[in-house]
């Protein structure tokens, strides 16, 4: 007997609600969203904005004094397989999309940090593209090594366009780099595309080359930035960290110094990177580095080379497959520095405020972990 479960009925109600919202004429819709925005302002709520928990991390409270100019959200490192192979990763990405769509008010855009697919398969990339279509805010994509090395980016370019690009938004210049280039290690070994992909897919697989940005892109970057004044707020997205953390796991960019040299003249530069699947904070001169969370699984912290500024997230509990994973937001201030919000699933969010990296770790210190990594 086919019965509608309570859950199906509930889902149908929700779907109907969304449909009815979509049908609101523009004026009523604006009224609704304005009312919501007004209510938020009236309460003096500090972002993160779904609501402000009282016992939020110290970072966010300190940041409250200096309101950000705008916000964007991020989702990263979903490592999708086809759903019939692995439903867990698909569920996690769907959950992240739901998180981001539930943000109120909505962020200016949603940034995807790379590694949408796990093995670069067309089916994986297309599944990811389809899921991300339901993100309400404008979407900005970045490529990771798992997306690239099966067909050297052919499918990615078809789906998402150029891997390297830039744009301006509310006075901030944004750059997206393809920073997981690798020197050819596959031709002389006679590897098939799949063998190349599985080699790169292994974080600890020593056969691959270190990541790099490469001469061509460095040149492009120099040109792209040439017209900007030194005091332009600059945010660079990169899949690899753009500094040298741990070579064995390619938490590494081989030409990091050269890239940093190009960025050196700017007052405030923020680099936001994927690949590391963990809370990571660093500062080298004028550049403030922040890592993105993964929706699929957390990496352990590297045994060497950890930046001093990083206060690690508490070691994830394997009995909860979502622990240590999540999504998050970035609060961008007028000067271009950011508060980085890690929305860890089933944990309180952690905010690494601009005051923390700006003061080289003496102010706005995020909470310490109680469970150390091994």
């Amino acid at each position: 007997m086919k019965r509608k479960s309570v859950e199906t009925e509930y889902m149908e109600d929700r779907a109907a609600l969304y449909r009815s919202l979509a049908k609101l004429d523009r004026r009523s819709f604006l009224k609704v969203s304005a009312a919501a925005a007004g209510a938020v302002l009236a309460k003096g709520l500090v972002p993160p904005h779904s609501f402000a928990p009282v016992s939020v991390a110290q970072g966010a409270e300190a940041a409250g004094a200096d309101k950000p100019a705008f916000r964007f959200a991020y989702i990263s490192d979903s490592h999708l397989y086809e759903r019939k192979i692995n439903d867990r990763f698909v569920r996690a990405l769907l959950r992240a999309v739901e998180d981001v769509n539930a943000l109120d008010p909505q962020p200016d855009f949603v940034f995807y940090g790379g590694d949408l697919a796990q093995l670069g398969q067309a089916a994986e990339l297309e599944l990811g593209a389809q899921i991300l279509k339901s993100v309400k805010a404008p979407l900005k994509m970045m490529v990771g090594e798992h997306d690239w090395y099966l067909d050297m980016g052919e499918r990615w370019r078809k789906l998402f366009g150029k891997p390297t690009y830039s744009w301006d938004h509310k006075g901030v210049h944004f750059v997206v780099l393809m920073s997981v280039m690798e020197r050819d290690f596959w031709t002389k070994r006679g590897l098939t595309p799949m063998e190349r992909m599985t080699t790169v897919a292994g974080l600890d697989n020593g056969m691959q080359s270190p990541f790099m940005v490469g001469e061509k892109q460095r040149q492009w970057l120099k040109n792209d930035l040439s017209r900007l004044a030194d005091n332009t707020p600059l945010i660079v997205f990169s899949h690899s960290p753009l500094y040298k953390l741990y070579k064995n796991w390619n938490f590494w960019t081989d030409d990091a110094e050269e890239v940093q040299a190009i960025l050196k003249r700017f007052e405030n530069v923020v680099v936001i990177h994927g690949h590391t699947h963990q809370l990571l904070t660093n500062r080298i001169g004028n550049i403030h580095f922040h890592g993105l969370l993964s929706t699929a699984w957390p990496w352990p912290y590297a045994p060497q080379g950890m930046p001093e500024l990083t206060i690690q997230m508490s070691r994830p509990d394997p009995f909860n497959p979502n622990d240590g994973c999540g999504d998050g937001e970035v609060l961008v201030h007028v000067d271009g520095l950011i508060d980085k919000v890690y929305n860890l699933w089933n944990r309180n969010p952690i905010t690494v405020a601009k005051g923390y990296t700006a003061s080289s770790g003496t102010k706005c210190i995020p909470p310490k972990p109680n469970r150390p990594g091994y």
Binding site: M207, P300, P321, Y374
Partner: protein, 199 residues
């Protein structure tokens, strides 16, 4: 003894012998099972790839860093060992120990890095959460693991991971794959002090 009693005794003894043989046969059968399994992976692969059989250790080591076993050459020094049967060791002994130990560890690395060899059904391999066996902390077992409802050894945790994140079937304790995995995981933590019970 009366003829009836003798007959009864013969029947009794035959029954006992039969049961004994059957029991032993069972025992032998059970002993053979894990040995047969040893054939499955390494030997099978070697048969299928005769030209690469010698290469597989080299290939695996090219992909993944393996910490070498302890250096036993100090056993070759000292005068007491010379010319005796017991208490003396040769260079070939030491070489063989190293090679065999390393083979098991390298085999473990192969399984560790392969969703297929683990028997998983969701494309997840151990290195996806434990690159270079990081965060496996074998030196902290045995410890009471509430979420398993008992005191866990390393192999219990390995099996838990195989059953849940990897969504495969748990391995028997004497399964060659389990032995190889334990060897690899322990090897990667060479030098870390034992701290059982640490959470």
């Amino acid at each position: 003894m009366s003829p009836d009693a003798r007959k009864a005794l013969v029947v009794l003894v035959s029954v006992l012998i039969a049961v004994g043989i059957w029991g032993c046969a069972e025992q032998v059968e059970t002993d053979q099972a894990p040995k047969a399994l040893v054939q499955t992976h390494m030997a099978q692969w070697q048969r299928k790839n005769p030209d690469r059989a010698a290469q597989w250790i080299k290939e695996e080591k090219a992909r993944h860093k393996i910490r070498p076993p302890a250096d036993n050459r100090h056993l070759l020094t000292g005068d007491q060992g010379k010319g005796h049967v017991y208490g003396s060791y040769t260079e070939r002994d030491i070489l063989m120990w190293a090679r065999e130990t390393e083979k098991l560890v390298v085999e473990g690395s192969r399984i560790f890095h392969s969703a297929k060899l683990l028997g998983g059904t969701v494309g997840v391999s151990c290195d996806m959460c434990h690159p270079d066996a990081a965060n496996t902390h074998p030196e902290t077992y045995p410890k009471f693991q509430a979420q398993m409802g008992r005191v866990a050894l390393l192999r219990d945790m390995v099996n838990w991971c195989i059953e849940h994140p990897v969504r495969g079937k748990g391995l028997a304790a004497d399964d060659p794959r389990m032995r190889a995995l334990e060897a690899y995981i322990t090897a990667q933590r060479k030098g870390t002090p034992l701290e059982y019970g640490k959470h």
